[in-house]
Amino acid sequence: MVLLDSESVVILRLRGPLELKCHADSTDVVLMQKAISRSFEDLRLQVKSESCVLAVCDSPVLIWPNKCVFEEITPDTPCEDVFQLIQTADQDPGGKRSTKKKNRKGLSASVINLSLMMEATKPGPLSAPVLARTIQTSHFLRATLPVDCAVRSGCSDTIKDGCGRLLEALTRQLFDMEKATLRHMRGATLLVPEPLHFLLPEPNGLVTVVFPRGVPDNELEAQRRELHGKFELPDDRPYFRRANAYHFPNEPYKDGYLRNPHVVLTHPALDNGKVFLVQGFYSYHHYMQDRVDDNGWGCAYRSLQTICSWFQQQGYVERCVPSHKEIQQALVDVGDKQTSFVGSRQWIGSIEVQAVLDHLLGVTSKILFVSQGSELASKGRELANHFLSEGTPIMIGGGVLAHTILGVAWSETTGEIRYLILDPHYTGAEDLQVITEKGWCGWKGPDFWDQTAYYNLCLPQRPRAI
């Protein structure tokens, strides 16, 4: 997974509804398609016209890209400098207007949001309006197109260049929307085309794809297959399910869970060592979340939740992360536990995690058994291979404590190994700094394990699907 380098890249993101309205004179489908195409062509002309305005959100900056009019900035302003004109949300409203200092490290600073507007005013004098009334049984089509374009730009690129590329992307998106609209037209029913961004491995980077709103992922496999071909992506993992959509760094996650806390950590330096990590995104589940007091008994549940979040966020399953109760019920349903287990505070282990993953997500897992913690030091190759081929978080339990393994740093020559551990026993708030500085998410040596206790590792296998 290639992450955006916030040091050198600014994302310009243009959003704004565009209204598609057309009156199809005929009820004939072909003629209606023609009318729709004409309306899209009108919209494309509109965004190329002098009326088109890009407004930088939370700032006084207005840009008429087709007239080359830039208010509050010059066309040659580097994209990076635009941040100085953007007001941040945490300023007290009505208070003094201070501007945000450029924050190169902060991820939130790397996206410039713009909204698409149309200037309704024109130089006059002009002709007074005409009201026209047509009476004919026909179809009226009205849709609000959720235009959403994103382009990556170097910090030192000028805003003029950036806006030029945004407009190109916008025109392209309108073509894509037209195609999607016509493709998914069923009789006289239309589906609103919805653009989604996906961050693909280089050299593709950030791409935008238009899907029909409301059509579930499982009905769009043919379209995804085309996309995999177009971008030369492997056919064994999803890249274009909705859950794979790129999450912009300045947008908070609505569920409140931290994503991938490990990315801020520095990798351990081992002689000839390589780092093998979980692929994609997961959320950090730990004690005391969701108003559940599971301190002292819920660690394996939380580790399982983290694994489930991975499968959901990679798009393999649509099922949301199961609660403790749902996990317990699943174990009752598969015949592993008595009914009284539901609502109890009993621990579960790796075998139960395997059973629940199978029952609730349809995911199979391999179990790796070590009779003594000290043996884990020699499991470098197995673990490295797991992260290479599966890339899923591993749940490890056994003797006493359950943990999640997110990766290993392993030297093939010396056999030296470090484990990237996500600890579900954390009871505090979602504070990335505390979590990474106090080692709740951190690299551990082989001595981290109880050298004499036995361990079971649950290695979830990702399905081969797109």
Binding site: A55, G124, L126, A132
Partner: protein, 420 residues
């Protein structure tokens, strides 16, 4: 402490002229701009005489005054509004208070029923009433909060001043309109569609002389010089509302479009901020007024030709401005249908606003008469016979915006069918 009204000297002159006339009680409207601190009164106009109507105080008379106010308020560009009512009467000020109270409430109700814009939190809701005794020339000024049905009269300060009209700024723009509305088989309120459009205008970003200022900021910096004409150009940036409509195709019986441009103008006293608000409200009003005017044209024919495609086009009346004498930049406006001459405009300015205007005074250059493409359709001017000779119609025929559907308008519009 009551409100204070700063009144243009010309208004005093106008009112004294009414006082010196031998006629009985005379009512009329007070026109100007209100602001949080104080109001500025720039014009007064008497209620046109009505042969049939009864004396002041009757409900017919109240309706007559309100109808006058409704039509006058259509003739006021942004920033100007009907502020209240005056009465010149020999009766005691105390005795006329009930009449005046009823009049301002009735006037305000009718005017606000036509407004498509959303009132702001800090909009002034006090309306002024003025009683003048023609003998003693004693003037009593009271205000009523028209949004409070139980409100009682509050004393207010009425002060004449010269040059009240002279230091106003003008904000103007031309705005293009492109509305397309389906004509449903059953019922859909064109009014609702206009409201959606109005909300889009209200949400729009207003740029004054190229600057995107905060919504409540004043347009001027530094001291305003008197008698220097100040004009600003507004630009309005709009975006549709984000909706999530799943059913995007609907069957319809046709469609109505309104396309073209309007000229909008708002006047702002030097102490008056909210240029953007005034301009946006004028944009909304001038469009709504014209659509209403077109749709409320009376018609005698009521034919429907079902089954065949029909398209008719109607030119919306164009906006014509008339300067207010001796007032610097201030002007009022009226709407000219394609079959009307400028003399009909001057007649209406006389009747509605008691203004003596020559045809040369009128500014009809801001909007051009639309050219209608003849190939597909036939443009229809409304014949002179269909327009009443006097602009002020009997209030009982007045149109209520709330019960109006396009279906109901069909008698009007289909009176002029496509000739093919």
């Amino acid at each position: 402490m009551g409100r204070s009204y700063i009144v243009e000297d010309d208004v005093e002159e106008y009112l004294s002229k009414l006082c010196s006339q031998p006629a009985g009680p005379v009512t009329g409207l007070l026109i100007g701009q209100s602001s949080v601190q104080r109001d500025f009164v720039v014009m007064a106009t008497r209620t046109p005489q009505n042969d049939e109507s009864a004396a002041a105080g009757t409900s017919e008379y109240k309706e007559w005054v309100s109808e006058h106010a409704r039509q006058v308020s259509r003739m006021l560009p942004g920033g100007l509004s009907v502020l209240g009512v005056f009465i010149v009467s020999e009766s005691d000020a105390k005795d006329t208070l009930t009449t005046l109270r009823q009049l301002v409430f009735s006037v305000e109700n009718l005017i606000s029923s036509e407004q498509l814009w959303t009132p702001a939190e800090d909009d002034v809701t006090d309306c002024v009433t003025l009683h003048i005794n023609p003998k003693t020339r004693k003037t009593v000024c009271r205000t009523f909060d028209v949004k409070d049905p139980k409100s009682v009269a509050k004393p207010a300060d009425w002060k004449y001043q010269s040059g009240v009209c002279s230091s106003w700024a003008t904000v103007s723009c031309w705005l293009s309109i492109d509305l397309l509305v389906p004509l449903p088989d059953t019922s859909c309120l064109f009014q609702e569609e206009l409201k959606v459009w109005a909300q889009q205008i209200e949400r729009g970003v207003c740029v004054i002389d190229g600057k995107k200022l905060p919504e409540d900021s004043e347009i001027k910096t530094g001291q305003v010089k008197k008698n220097v004409r100040q004009t600003y150009t507004a630009q309005l940036l709009i975006a549709p509302e984000v909706q999530t409509v799943t059913d995007v195709v609907q069957r319809c019986g046709g469609c109505v479009s309104v396309r073209g441009a309007i000229h909008s103008r708002a006047f702002l006293h030097s102490n008056k901020p909210k240029a953007k608000l005034a301009e946006k409200r004028d944009i909304i009003s001038t469009v709504a007024t014209r659509v209403h005017m077109l749709l409320e044209e009376p018609s005698t024919q009521n034919e429907q030709n079902k089954g065949r495609k029909q398209t008719e086009q109607f030119c919306l009346p164009r906006r014509v401005f008339c300067p207010v004498k001796g007032s610097g930049s201030l002007s009022v406006c009226d709407y000219q249908f394609s079959d009307e001459g400028l003399s009909e405009m001057t007649d209406r300015f006389k009747e509605m606003l008691d203004m003596e205007a020559a045809e040369d005074d009128l500014d009809a250059t801001q909007e051009m008469v639309a050219e209608v493409i003849e190939s597909e359709t036939t443009a229809v001017g409304l014949g002179p016979s269909m327009r009443p000779k006097t602009a002020l119609r009997c209030p009982t025929h007045s149109w209520s915006p709330h019960c109006f559907t396009l279906e109901q308008t069909s008698p009007i519009i289909s009176s002029c069918r496509e000739r093919r």
